[in-house]
Point group: C2
C-alpha cells in the first residue's frame, strides 16, 4: 500500500463570535485529505483532517514543507512492519525532516491537521474506530464507552445581549450538558460579574460554570477577577494570563484556591511540560487542556500525555481543548478526563457524530472506522470535496 496523494484547502468559519483576544469572523481552517491506494467497500481509503479553531489555515506550511516531504519519501519507509498499513510515527518524522526544534506555533497547527488525516486513514485501513485502535495500541485495550464533554461557548455577542447569553446556556442544559463555559476579560470586571451571575441564574450554581479569560489578564487583573469570582465556587478559571507566563500562573495560585485550567496555546510536549514544571498547578484540582488539533496532532498528543505523567499528572486531569472528533477519540481510547465541544460554534468542524445525544454531560462514541467524520453529515460534505 502507499499514500498516493495529499490534498489541502482552506475552509472558512461563518461566525461573529469573539473572545477576550480575537474575533472569529476572519478565522480560517486547513482541511487535509490523505488519499491511499487501499480499497475498502470499492473505494480508496481517504483520511481526513483539519485544525482546531483559533490559529488560522496553514496552507503555506502544508504545501511548501510538510506535504512534499511525505510524497517525496520512499513509500515503504512510511509503513508499519508488515507493510499493510501506514505507520503514523514514520509519517510524522518524514514531515518534520529539516525542521528545527523550538518555536512551536503555526507549524504545529499545520502538522496537527495533516497528522489527524494520517491517523484517520490508518484507523480506516485497520477497519476500526480510532478510539478503539488507540485503546488497543496505547492503553492495554481499555477505553471509555462515554466521554465527559462541556460546550465551548459563552462568547461575547456583538451587541452585548445578556438574554442571548442566557438562552445559549439554557440550550446547552436542554441538550444534556452538565457544565457550561463562558468567556470573560473582553469587558470590565463589573460587567463580567453581571454576566457570570446571569449565567449562574440559568445553570443553578457556580460549580457548573467554567470561565475563560483567553490569556488576557496581567497579574493585577487576574488577581482582581480571582478575588471577585471566589465566592461563586466556579468549575474552573481558565487561562488567566499569557499562556507562557508560568510565573503569573504560579502567583495567582497563591491567591485563588479554586480549580485552574490552561494549555490550549501550548503546542508541544516541551511547552506543556514547562507549564507543569513552573506553573504551580495542582494535579488534584487543576486541569490541563492541550488541543491535539493545534498541537501537532495525535502523535505529539501521545508525547504530551507521557510528559504529563512523568511530571506526576494522572491523564484524567487532561481535558482536551477544541471539540474535534480527534479529541473525542483520544479522550475515550486513552481514558483522559474529557473534551470540549462546540455544538454551536465553529461549524461544521465542531461537535461529534450526528444523532449521538449528550446525556448527563457525557457523549457516546461512533462505531465508524477512523475518526467518524463520515458520521457528521455537514462536516463530511465539506471534507469529501477534497477527495473528489
Amino acid at each position: 500500500m502507499r499514500i498516493v496523494d495529499i490534498r489541502e484547502k482552506t475552509g472558512t468559519l461563518a461566525t461573529t463570535m469573539r473572545n477576550a483576544f480575537i474575533d472569529f469572523s476572519q478565522m480560517t481552517v486547513s482541511l487535509v485529505a490523505v488519499v491511499t491506494d487501499v480499497v475498502r467497500d470499492g473505494k480508496p481509503v481517504v483520511g481526513y483532517g483539519f485544525n482546531a479553531n483559533g490559529r488560522y489555515a496553514q496552507g503555506g506550511i502544508l504545501r511548501e514543507r510538510l506535504i512534499p516531504r511525505i510524497l517525496k519519501a520512499d513509500p515503504k519507509t512510511l509503513l508499519d512492519a508488515d507493510g499493510a498499513n501506514i505507520d503514523p510515527f514514520k509519517v510524522f518524522a518524514a514531515m518534520m525532516t529539516n525542521e528545527k526544534p523550538g518555536g512551536h506555533g503555526d507549524r504545529a497547527v499545520a502538522v496537527a491537521a495533516l497528522d489527524m488525516a494520517v491517523w484517520d486513514a490508518t484507523a480506516k485501513i485497520a477497519g476500526e474506530p480510532l478510539w478503539k485502535l488507540l485503546a488497543e495500541r496505547f492503553n492495554k485495550g481499555q477505553a471509555d464507552a462515554k466521554v465527559l464533554v462541556y460546550p465551548g461557548g459563552g462568547y461575547y455577542y456583538p451587541d452585548g445581549n445578556m438574554q442571548k447569553l442566557k438562552d445559549e446556556m439554557q440550550s446547552y442544559l436542554d441538550d444534556g450538558y452538565s457544565v457550561v463555559k463562558m468567556k470573560i476579560g473582553a469587558a470590565d470586571l463589573a460587567t463580567d460579574i453581571k454576566r457570570i451571575e446571569a449565567v449562574i441564574e440559568v445553570v443553578g450554581e457556580g460549580s457548573r460554570l467554567a470561565v475563560d479569560a483567553n490569556g488576557k489578564f496581567d497579574l493585577e487583573t487576574a488577581l482582581a477577577y480571582g478575588k471577585a469570582m471566589k465566592p461563586y465556587g466556579l468549575f474552573w478559571y481558565e487561562e488567566a494570563g499569557d499562556p507562557l507566563d508560568y510565573a503569573l500562573q504560579a502567583k495567582l495560585a497563591k491567591h485563588y484556591d479554586g480549580p485552574f485550567a490552561t494549555g490550549e496555546n501550548l503546542f508541544s510536549h516541551q511547552d506543556i511540560r514547562n507549564l507543569l514544571r513552573y506553573g504551580a498547578l495542582d494535579p488534584k484540582k487543576d486541569w490541563i487542556m492541550p488541543d491535539p488539533a493545534l498541537a501537532m496532532g495525535l502523535t505529539e498528543g501521545l508525547r504530551i500525555i507521557e510528559a504529563a505523567e512523568k511530571e506526576g499528572w494522572p491523564r484524567r486531569r487532561i481535558v482536551l481543548h477544541g471539540g474535534t472528533q480527534l479529541a473525542l477519540s483520544m479522550a475515550a481510547g486513552l481514558q483522559l478526563g474529557g473534551t470540549e465541544t462546540y455544538p454551536l460554534m465553529f461549524q461544521p468542524y465542531g461537535g461529534f457524530a450526528d444523532g449521538v445525544p449528550v446525556e448527563a454531560g457525557y457523549v457516546a462514541l461512533p462505531d465508524a472506522p477512523g475518526l467518524g467524520i463520515e458520521r457528521k453529515a455537514k462536516l463530511y460534505e465539506v471534507m469529501k470535496t477534497l477527495a473528489a
Copy 2:
C-alpha cells in the same frame, strides 16, 4: 504619507551546509518590501526586510494574515503623532490583530521579515541609519561605533572533510575575526572532539572557539560533551538541549562551569523570559542570543531587551543570532553585546555592508539611511526586484 503597498516573495539559499538538526539545501526565506508614497532623491521610499535562516519562508502567513491587515487599516492610524512618518509599533499592532497569544513560531518569523521592512522604511523616511535612530529613540542617544561580531560557521561539510573546516576557520582569522564558532552534535563525541582540536590548532586556543549543538542533545549526551570539552576552556557551549528544556539547561549548569549561550529558537519575550527565569543561566558569564529576524523583529526585540533587564540581565550579555544588518543596527544603537554574522553562509542575506572590514573582531556601521541594505550590492540586487 502612507504605506501604498506591501510585497513579498520567497528567496532561496544555495547552500549544502548542515548542522546537528537540519540541512540547509531546501531552506527558503521570505523577502518583504514596504512601499511608501514618500519621495527621497526622486524615488519612493521602500523598506526592505527578510527573515533570518533556519525557519523557511512564510509567504502564506504574510499574504493571508499580516499584510492584508496593514493594508486594510486606515493609513492615518499607522502614523506617528505628526503624521510625517510610520509608527512601527502601530503597524505591529495592526498586523497582530486577531492573533491569539502563545504559540510563537512561524508567525513570529513572518512578523520579523515584515517588521524589519517597516523599520527600514521608517529610518529611511527619517533620513537616518537605523542604528542612529534606535540610539536616539531608545538609548539616550548613545551608540557603539563598532560592534563585536563572530562568524556563524563550522558546519558539517558533506564529505566530513577536516581540512576544509580548518581552511574555513583560517579564512575567518584572515578576515579579522577574533572568535569563531563551529557545529557539534551531528557526529559522535569522539569525532566532534577531533574536529574541535583541529579548529583549536587553527585559532590557537579554546577561548577563541564557541561550539553549537543546535538543541540536539539529551541530558546525558549534553553532560558527556560538557565533560569532554571542559579542558579546552571554550568561548561558549551553545544550545546543548532542546531550546524549551530549561530544566536540562539548569542541570547541565551544575556540571559545566564554562559560559553557555542559547535563545535563537525562542521567538517572543515571554519565551526568553522563561529561559532566564528557569534555565539557571548566569548573567556574569552566559549569553542570550535571540534573533530579531526570527522573533517578531525589532519591535519585539525591544520587549525582549526590556524583559531581560527586568530579570537582571545587562544588555551587553545579549549577542544577537542571525547575522543580519538588523541585528548589527540593534547591537550598535542599543549597545548590546554583539552579533553573529555569516560571511560565507546564507548569502546574499548574511553579512553587512560591502567594504566594511572586520578589525580585531569588530565591524563598523554603515552611514546609509535605514538598515543599509543598499550598501550590500548582492543583497540589494535581490531585494530591489520587489520594488520594481
